[in-house]
Structures are given as structure tokens and as C-alpha cells.
Amino acid sequence: MSNPYFPIPAVVKKALVETSDRMLRTLELRFLKDEDAQAFHFVPGQFCELSLLGKGEAPFGIASSPTENGSLKFTINKAGVVTTALHHIEEGTEVGIRGPLGNGYPIDLFQGKNVLVIGGGFAFTTLRSLVTYFLHPQNRNKVKDITVIYGARTPGLLLYKEELAEWAKRSDIRLVVTVDQGDKDWKGKVGLVPNVLEEAAPAAENTYAVICGPPIMIKFTFPKLMALRFPNERIYTSLEKRMKCGIGKCGRCNIGHLYVCKDGPVFSYAQLEKLPKDY
């Protein structure tokens, strides 16, 4: 019987500070053992518990796509004990991984449909995984139009800038990047995500919307999606709650009878409507 609480050893292959405020750092991890790498299968939207022995564990969405073989990426917001420690470790340091955990995005449901991805700030991590997955030559035919609307407060706070530039060059994805406030070098859009959505959204028909961002963005974006006639069943989001075990046992991340760690973190708005507002 394998112990689901044991961290699988991995090593930091590369570390990169993403944002101008230096609060977001992406770690690229590689499993120490080949058999662990081979046994690790995930879908975009799943997460892992990363652990630093002596500091503890914390959950992070997987920012890389299953199509990017060989390593896993996590983008970490410096906030507490574990995340601060994860900001300070050097390349080559050993990190424990438990996962993949949670359900992930329902990519099978998206087959043959358009996908609208709406992201805000540092919540773009698992959305990066999703977009990268569908942009892979093997998967690009699985969905029709891909529209990505991504916003941050300032240009410096955008994640994955190099990739955004790559995506902007492609013809098989519509990318709209916006900032709340530009700077002297910013030539892109300025505007809040909910407003940009109004201009840039594809027709709701045959389209699934996936939205991830700070609560305030979600609060104002959701009514816009409703106005655009997206039904609740076709709007998905990924929730966060305080977690420990990640496998539905330690108790704390429940919303009603469901556990965000095990039954989520991805929920449709149709599901959330039926749950207590306990998040």
C-alpha cells in the first residue's frame, strides 16, 4: 500500500522571478527518479503539494502542460512560511512533490468547442497549462477557437511574458492582454478584464469559459458572462481554500459536502450555485 503523504523527491532545475515586484517565482522541477517521472500523469488544472522538509507543505496549481515532458512548473506567490522558503531556495535544491491532486479542467467536455480563457494576475498558472496543452500540435484540433483574455494590474505583474509574446504571433489563438494601468513602454490594451471581456468575448454559443483570477475580478466578470448568455454549465473556475492533506481527509477545505482538494479545485458555476457560499 503506497503512502499518499510521502513527498516524491524532485530537484529545482531552473528558477525564474516572473514579476517586477519579485513576488512571483516560477520553479521548474524535475523528479529525481525516472520511474517517478513516468508514473506522474496529470491534466491541466490539477495541483500538487510542494514540500520543503523542515518548513512544511503548500498546494500549488501545476503551471506546465502535460505536453511539456520532463519537468513540472509551479509559479509561487511569496506569502507565507513555505512560499517564502520556496522563493529562497537555489537551483539544485531538493523539493518534495505530492500529486497530481484534484480533478483538473474537464478537457474532454471542451472537445469540438471554442474555449474562452479569462485570467487575472498570478491566477494565470493553471490557465497557462490549459492553453499550452491545447496549443500543442497533437491537441490543437481538439478544440475550435481559443481566445485568451489576460489582465494584470501593471505590465510588470504579467506572468510568462515570453510566452505571451509567442502566443501573440500565432494565428491559431486570439490573445488579448490588458493591464489596469500602463507605463511608458506599454503599447497594449489598458482596461479592466470585465470590460475587455465585453469587447473581446466570442459568441457564447458552443463556447466554454474558464475563469481564474482574484475574487474581485471574478465578481465583476461573472455578470458579464451571464449578460453574454454563457450558461452556468459552461463556465468553469478553479477555487482555492486552505488545504493540508490534499486528499479529502484533513477536513478544512470543504464547501458543503464537497472538498476543494478532492472534488475540485475545478467547479462549474452550475455546481457552485448549488453549494453554500462557504468560500
Binding site: 499518499p4 514540500s51 512544511g56 481527509k249 477536513g251 459536502h257
Partner: protein
């Protein structure tokens, strides 16, 4: 099969168990402080305690438990597992309420998605010797929750105190293994009928009285009810009800570091603590006692039944008995059922 154990042979009997097993049984630590713990000397065992303060869940789910130990050398590290159980175990003298609670938290720890090896390894290695609860307390309401003071489900062997001796029932295959124990002799008709009398009397004392049927449906409509304001007014947030509850299973995980060595450990946690759901950002989805007391009751009487088709309460009465504010869960159940939605 019904056997008996003469109390004169009680200590040698315990010794014979300890020769083969790690023995866990009720112990009086100090006046009014009783727990189930690993027995070092057979004389420590005290079966006269009505129902130990701390529930028997601790045998499978300790208050504090090492998950693994680690040692770091430079950038590398080594983890040593602590989940293996080296010797089979006996849990002696657990009351039917605590034993019924195992079948509830089994759903969580032995769940179909992930197996909690710490809990499951101990559970599998343990033979349970239950004990008839011949002096139920005024706070007991096990019979309202599919149990009873002499409920035998979950026990491998079952003891009934006859005064001079114990009647020993062998109930399962694991239990039958004790048939050959030299201190157990055949019980006679008189002893068997005496046991029946004791069982009848105790059962009479704890009649089903608390109306739990349909409480899940009632609570479905009560998430935003002003009733929770009333519930929380009384609660001090001390969390004793959750720690002493045989079905509460929440835990926290943390690392304890000592230079290059340390351990990961899990500790009982409680939904009544504000830190329980407090996020690093500062956001807390359950910011006051209102949301927290609601979570405790909703989990037991609504969420758990939705997931596992059973109410997560066994009527042991500990939360009522030990609450410093005299919060009576039986009263709460009645109020919810009567629709005291105010």
C-alpha cells in the same frame, strides 16, 4: 461462542494478551482524567471507568502522530517511514459508541480514492474487545443513532461485567482465535442469563429519544438561518467537543525541524478554530463562531450523511458532558428538527 473470565484471572489474562499483542485499554491517569493508552503493566487497566474522557479513536488516529522522519545532507535528504505496525494490537474495553465511530471514520481514512496508511495499518492490525456499557450516563443517546449500550457491531470479542467475572463473547473469526486462551472457560446458563439481565437494564436506560431522522433534509434549508446566531452565542470556541468527539477526524500537518533532522507530524485540529480555515492572504471563509459552529453541526448531520449515508455522531455524549458552556447537542438536534429557525 460464550465464555467467561473469572476476575481472579484478570491480570494473568491481560498478561497472556500482552505476550502476543500490544495492548491498549482504558487507564485512569488522574482523578477524572481517563484515556485509552498502550499498557505497560496489566495493573494499569481500569475497566470500571464509565466511558473514558478521550475517545478510543486515539488508538488509530493519535492526537499527535509522526508521519515520517527526515534527515538532510547538503541539498539531498532521506525520509524514513513510520507507518509500519510491527506487532498486532488489541483494543480492550472500548464502549460500543466508540467502536461504532470507527465504522464512520473508516469511510474517511480508508476512502476509495486514497488510503490513509497510518490509520488503516493500525486498524487492520487490531482486534477489538468491546465492552457492554452497563452504567450509561445521563448524556448518552447512542440508541438514537443506530447503536446501543450493548451494540456488538465492530467488536471481535465482547465483555459483559457480571461482578465476579466477565462473560466473554467471541463474535468474529479474529475473536475465535481466543477460544484457546487458558483463562477463558465455558460460561454456564446462569451466567448467560445474568448477562442478559444486565444488558436489558442498560438498554432500558438509553431508549431512543433524540429524533435524528430527516435532520439532513432540515439542515439543507438552514445554511443562512438566524438559528446559527443563537448556537454561536453560547460557544466559547474552546474546541473540546471536537477533540473529544469519536467521529471528528480533522488534522493539521506540520514540520518540526531540528538542525538537519526533523519530522513531519499531524495533530488533531478543529473546525472551531479560526486558524483552521484562515488563508495566508488573510481571507477567512469562516470568520466568526457563527460559521464555525455551523460547520461542525453541518458536517455531522448534513455533509457526512450526503457523502456516506450515515450521520457522523454516535451519541456518546462527550461534547455535552465536557462543554464548559453546557451546550447540549441533543437540544440542538431537537431544535433543528422542530424548526426553531430563529
Amino acid at each position: 461462542m460464550k465464555l467467561k473470565l473469572d476476575k481472579k484471572n484478570f491480570i494473568p489474562f491481560l498478561q497472556s494478551l500482552m505476550d502476543e499483542y500490544d495492548l491498549f485499554a482504558p487507564v485512569q491517569l488522574a482523578e477524572g482524567v481517563s484515556v485509552y493508552k498502550k499498557i505497560d503493566q496489566p495493573e494499569e487497566v481500569d475497566l470500571s471507568i464509565a466511558n473514558p474522557q478521550k475517545p478510543a479513536k486515539e488508538i488509530f488516529f493519535p492526537q499527535s502522530e509522526t508521519m515520517f522522519r527526515y534527515e538532510k545532507a547538503g541539498k539531498e535528504s532521506r525520509i524514513t517511514s513510520t507507518e509500519e505496525i510491527k506487532r498486532n494490537r488489541i483494543l480492550l474495553g472500548a464502549r460500543p459508541c466508540d467502536i461504532q465511530a470507527f465504522s464512520l471514520i473508516d469511510h474517511v481514512f480508508a476512502g476509495k480514492d486514497y488510503t490513509d496508511t497510518y490509520y488503516v495499518n493500525k486498524r487492520k492490525a487490531t482486534t477489538i474487545i468491546g465492552m457492554g456499557c452497563d452504567h450509561p450516563l445521563s448524556t448518552c443517546f447512542c440508541s438514537s443513532l443506530n447503536g446501543g449500550p450493548f451494540h456488538r457491531e465492530g467488536s471481535d470479542l465482547f465483555l459483559i461485567d457480571l461482578g465476579e467475572s466477565y462473560l466473554v463473547e467471541l463474535l468474529t473469526e479474529k475473536g475465535m482465535a481466543f477460544q484457546k486462551n487458558k483463562f477463558l472457560e465455558e460460561a454456564n446458563e446462569k451466567e448467560i442469563s445474568m448477562a442478559k439481565g444486565i444488558e436489558g437494564k442498560a438498554t432500558e436506560k438509553v431508549k431512543p429519544s433524540i429524533p435524528v431522522n430527516g435532520i439532513e433534509k432540515k439542515l439543507d434549508q438552514m445554511m443562512e438561518s438566524p438559528y446559527w446566531d443563537r448556537v454561536q452565542e453560547k460557544c466559547l470556541g474552546c474546541r473540546v467537543c471536537t477533540y473529544l468527539c469519536p467521529t471528528c477526524h480533522c488534522f493539521d500537518i506540520m514540520d518540526e525541524a531540528r538542525t538537519n533532522k526533523g519530522r513531519r507530524v499531524r495533530n488533531w485540529d478543529s473546525c472551531l478554530s479560526s486558524l483552521y480555515s484562515q488563508e495566508t492572504s488573510g481571507h477567512n471563509p469562516r470568520p466568526t463562531n457563527r460559521e464555525r459552529t455551523r460547520q461542525r453541526l453541518m458536517h455531522k448531520f448534513n455533509y457526512f450523511p450526503r457523502n456516506f449515508d450515515r450521520i457522523a455522531c454516535v451519541g456518546c455524549g462527550r461534547c455535552t458532558l465536557y462543554c464548559p458552556a453546557h451546550f447540549d447537542i441533543r437540544q440542538t438536534i431537537k431544535e433543528i428538527q422542530e424548526g426553531s429557525d430563529k
